[in-house]
Amino acid sequence: MGAAELVQYVATGVLVGGVYALMSIGLALIFGVMRVVNFAQGDFMMLGMYLTYFYTLSGVVDPLLGALLTIPPFFVLGWIVHRGLLARVTGGGDPQRQMDAQLILTLGLSLVITNATTMILSPTPLGIRTPYATQAFALGPVLLNQARSYAFGMALLLALAVYGFLTRTDLGKALRAAADDPEAASYQGIDVRAMHGLAFGTGIALVAAAGGLLATYHPIEPTVAGNFIVLMFVAVVLGGLGSIPGAFVGGLVIGLVQSLTLLVLPFQLQNTGVFIVFLLVLYLRPQGLFGRRARTV
């Protein structure tokens, strides 16, 4: 196996990792601000894939644009889900119980979304046909699939947009403040509950857009969430629960790990490497690469 082949695997891994990174940023944002592990993250992504598909049915919307267009409706959806469901779960005042209760709520949400979609839409996988899904850029000896490259580029742009939002706007800084110290944030006049809604809405919108990008080269079916939710969790834990840049790096790493695993294992086992990384991180460095606190008994 030559260097060129290795570089190919690395390149594919990075391209795929970019989309994973975008998915994971949404999850990290939600956890960072609200301390909620959103089990339904993958299911919202799946819905984003379907919406993008429907956009492309119109014939005029390119899937990449479609992915972008999922952002507004999903932001609103996320806000409503937060206000209507998550904000109403208190777990009896105990913060640990509340986290458990919200986790279980999102698990229930995940079940409902996946199965309702199976009920309403056909379980037959759909695909978006684009001319560039089957073409590739040639970068020296390395071939970069065009669909994945565009998806990577778009994911990068969106991630940068989120980064810009968080670092350059008042609202973004208020979000980060609410994540750092909700009590002190409220002393500055920041409505922490509204910040939670904002974080959830943004997190859902991002993962829906990621789904749209994914749809350019991955089949769309109601159960697709299951393949990716664990990848997202691992990426976020690897990066450090609550760290946005960490989640981005984590996503890239997971893409790489997945790709490199294919060097030694067959396709069905491509996630083995990912799980090994997961367990290693949890036991050796639970706070991940950029995380703030290590929680061990």
Binding site: K173, R176, A177, D181, A185, Q188, G189
Partner: protein, 235 residues
């Protein structure tokens, strides 16, 4: 500006404050001293709304603060500089200050406010791009104070600014507080463990012990009163 009548606060079943009444007139500098556990921080939290009260009334500019959310109270012009500074560690010094002027009326005057605060605390200008979490204790206290001032408040609540700081920094902080008082038209409510420094700055003071007001008086009266010592040492 601030009128508190018979306030009672309980935390998880423990009585933190009982039957506390005090008032702060506009432009006054009032100090609350007392030993640890007296309920001083709880009092400021009750004013800001992060500790729920179960008895009594807090009125600000004549308005009953009642069930107002903390963020709403901050929007009314109450700036709370919390105990332990509580700067946002993952944000830069500049970002912390900018967030201080989050409320609408302060946002308009943000650049002016920044200039004033950075003039007051030159070390913050030096460290503006540094993460707040990497600052020393004294610098964080200055940042927290500056953040509070950025809100252009009418009422400034200061919770134990000297806590955990060395004597020289503490002196600096108190000097700055004095300067702030003289240069701006602020009403200040200061909570402190350090008796003399706090009393010397104020117009009037209250002494709190185990959740109740045990002494009240003007500055000189309290400074000369040996009963203040009893509140701390029991003898």
């Amino acid at each position: 500006m601030l009128a508190i009548e018979r306030l009672g606060v309980s935390y998880e079943g423990l009585h933190a404050l009982a039957d506390v009444s005090l008032e702060v007139a506009e432009g006054e500098f009032v100090t609350i001293v007392g030993p640890n556990g007296a309920g001083k921080t709880t009092l400021l939290k009750a004013i800001s709304g992060t500790a729920p009260s179960d008895a009594g009334r807090i009125a600000y500019k004549g308005q009953d603060l009642g069930l107002l959310q903390p963020s709403a109270r901050a929007a009314l012009g109450i700036a709370h500089v919390p105990e332990g500074r509580r700067v946002f560690p993952s944000l830069t010094v500049m970002e912390n200050l900018e967030l201080g002027s989050y409320r609408r009326t302060a946002r308009a005057a943000r650049s002016q406010g920044l200039e004033e605060v950075l003039a007051l605390f030159p070390v913050l200008r030096q460290r503006q791009r540094q993460l707040a979490g990497s600052l020393s204790g004294g610098e964080q206290q200055m940042l927290a104070l500056g953040r509070g001032l950025m809100a252009r408040p009418d009422l400034l609540l200061l919770d134990e600014p000297s806590q955990g700081l060395g004597p020289r920094i503490v002196e600096q902080i108190f000097e700055t507080i004095d300067r702030i008082r003289r240069e701006r038209r602020l009403t200040i409510l200061l909570v402190e463990q350090r008796v003399v420094e706090a009393l010397e700055l104020c117009d009037r003071g209250y002494v709190l012990e185990t959740g109740r007001v045990v002494l009240a008086g003007g500055r000189e009266a309290l400074l000369a009163d040996p009963r203040v010592q009893r509140a701390y040492l029991g003898a």
